[in-house]
């Protein structure tokens, strides 16, 4: 009952926290682009949260580097559960061009599943995905919750 209530509440005005774990910056800029006048996702109550503790949705960009691995897991632990995670961009979905890098720990879904095997993870592929795709991804993820 309480869990169902929490999931229902999560869909309204989701606050997002943005983590760059090894991206080239482009997905991050497209995320910020979503917040600026042309796309303006604030219309739907989506806001960038200043701390993972306030976040309903974690936006992860880039494959995870060895150095960022612990930090991502820590950020995920700090989020209030239930928390959806959105892997944005090809690197975050599958490592893509960086799959062979010697300093990569793996894609973010794998890294987060190490601490929470039941994590709710959605994927938005593209290099970088267009803001429209990010918005569609967020809508579909929230619909599936």
């Amino acid at each position: 009952m309480l869990a169902a209530l929490k999931r229902w509440a999560l869909k309204k005005s989701p606050w997002v926290y943005h983590v760059n774990t090894g991206a080239c910056n482009n997905c991050d800029i497209e995320i910020l682009d979503c917040l600026t006048p042309r796309f303006d996702v604030e219309r739907f109550g989506i806001l960038l949260a200043p701390s993972p503790r306030h976040a309903d949705v974690l936006l992860v960009t880039g494959g995870v580097t060895l150095q960022a691995r612990g930090a991502l897991q820590e950020v995920y632990r700090q989020t209030a559960k239930p928390c959806a995670m959105l892997c944005i961009g090809s690197c975050a979905c599958s490592m893509c061009i960086f799959a062979d890098g010697y300093h990569m720990a793996g894609p973010p879904d794998k890294v987060v599943r190490e601490v929470d095997p039941d994590a709710f993870i959605a994927y938005v592929p593209g290099c970088p995905p267009k803001p429209e795709a990010i918005i569609l991804g967020a809508v579909k993820a929230l619909g599936a919750l």
Binding site: N20, N26, L32, P50, T65, A68, I97
Partner: protein
């Protein structure tokens, strides 16, 4: 006075990329600073050694999403230095055009973020709104809003169809008054003057000693621009001037970027006038053994690439030096003595792009207990100061 260490990062909500700053503060004033990078280190130089020369530009565009024309540009310069091939004029102009459009969108992006840092979210929204038409142009010209993938050794991958030229002109005509409006909004505003003039001064001698590049150097009176000193692409065929401001403070750096927007518009217009039909790529069959170096002026400063070839289709060694790598240490020269509320603004003024900069470092310091002030609290401090000044004005 008691000294406190203020850690910022590695993840903070607005500056996009992971980086850790440690500010040592006494009261309100910063007395020492330390920078830790490498959260974003992806081992690109090593990965380049496993790719063929035709594949490398795709990887290098992903060194940094904002400079995704400058890094492949420097790569092409390095390879063309190595093999000594002639690039067709049409390709030169297309390269120049892409690089300048990139500079425009990057500088507008910076103006927006800088506005956000001092609590002027209106400037942030404006600047990003005016940036959108440029991204639309990129989509028309190259098929993608951010990764253009246009450069290759010997020329460019895709031609710009002539029917796109009027659209480019129209966008520039619409952008110019908006850029003037932004310039006016910054130059005439007493609050912005109070927040940025005399703040984070990087003296000319320090700029030279730290070897900073790009708008960070030109804001300190160093007349240095690779497009001018070692012209590549078509920069020697168009008329433009290097924007230099002598003061070295945050205001001067902002002024350099805002004025450079007009130079970029000027360059693009001349490219559109001068470009003529012709081939877009030279036929490069073989690369000799040897070394090549290439520079390019990215929006943030000089990008330097080095390649060593053994005559095969893969490099033996590839080296990238991104502009932020030399700009970040200058933080130490201009943040010391500044107020804590100004610290974020001073960092932002050099337009750091950490993705480019990530090197390996072996410092691990996760266990030390420190008093924590978050990036958000720093932002609040900065906004409160603007509010205070606004009330006094």
């Amino acid at each position: 006075m008691k000294r406190t260490v203020v850690p910022i990062g590695p993840f903070h909500p607005i500056l996009e990329e992971p980086l850790r700053f440690e500010l040592h503060v006494e009261g309100e004033h910063v007395v020492d600073a330390d920078v830790r990078i490498s959260h974003n280190h992806r081992g690109m130089e090593k990965m380049c050694e496993g790719l063929s020369y035709d594949q490398i530009p795709f990887l290098l565009a992903r060194v940094c999403g904002i400079c995704s024309a400058s890094h492949p540009m420097a790569f092409c310069n390095a390879l063309e230095d190595l093999c000594g091939c002639e690039v067709p004029p049409r390709a030169q102009y297309i390269r120049t055009l892409i690089c300048e459009l990139e500079r425009l969108h990057s500088h507008l992006l910076w103006v927006g973020l800088a506005g956000h840092f001092i609590g002027y979210n209106t400037v942030y929204m404006w600047a990003w709104k005016y940036r959108e038409p440029i991204l639309d142009l990129f989509e028309k010209v190259s098929g993608s809003r951010n990764h253009y993938e246009n450069h290759r050794v010997g020329g460019v991958r895709r031609d710009i169809p002539d029917e796109v030229f009027p659209a480019i002109r129209k966008t520039l005509d619409e952008l110019e008054p908006k850029a003037e409006m932004l310039l006016g909004a910054v130059i005439d505003d007493p609050v912005i003057h109070a927040r940025t003039k005399g703040v984070g001064v990087l003296r000319n001698v320090d700029a030279v000693a730290y070897g900073v590049t790009g708008p960070t150097a030109r804001g300190s009176g160093v007349n240095q621009d690779i497009r001018d000193t070692e012209p590549y692409a078509a920069y020697d065929k168009v008329d433009w001037k290097v924007v230099v401001q002598p003061e070295g403070d945050v205001f001067a750096k902002a002024a350099v970027r805002l004025l450079e927007n007009f130079e970029s518009i000027k360059i693009i217009r001349q490219c559109l006038d001068q470009i003529e039909p012709g081939p877009i790529c030279a036929d490069v069959r073989e690369l000799p053994e040897g070394e090549g170096i290439g520079h390019a002026e990215a929006p943030r400063g000089e990008t330097f690439h080095y390649v060593r070839s053994d005559g095969t289709n893969r490099p033996v060694r590839y080296k990238v030096r991104a502009p932020t790598f030399v700009n970040v240490p200058s933080f130490k020269a201009n943040v010391i003595g500044a107020e804590l509320a100004d610290a974020m603004l001073i960092v932002a003024a050099m337009d750091p792009c950490y993705s480019c900069t990530q090197r390996m470092s072996l410092i691990r310091d996760d266990t030390r207990q420190q008093s924590v002030i978050t990036h958000d609290e720093l932002l609040q401090l900065s906004w409160a100061k603007t509010e205070r000044i606004r009330r006094q004005c």
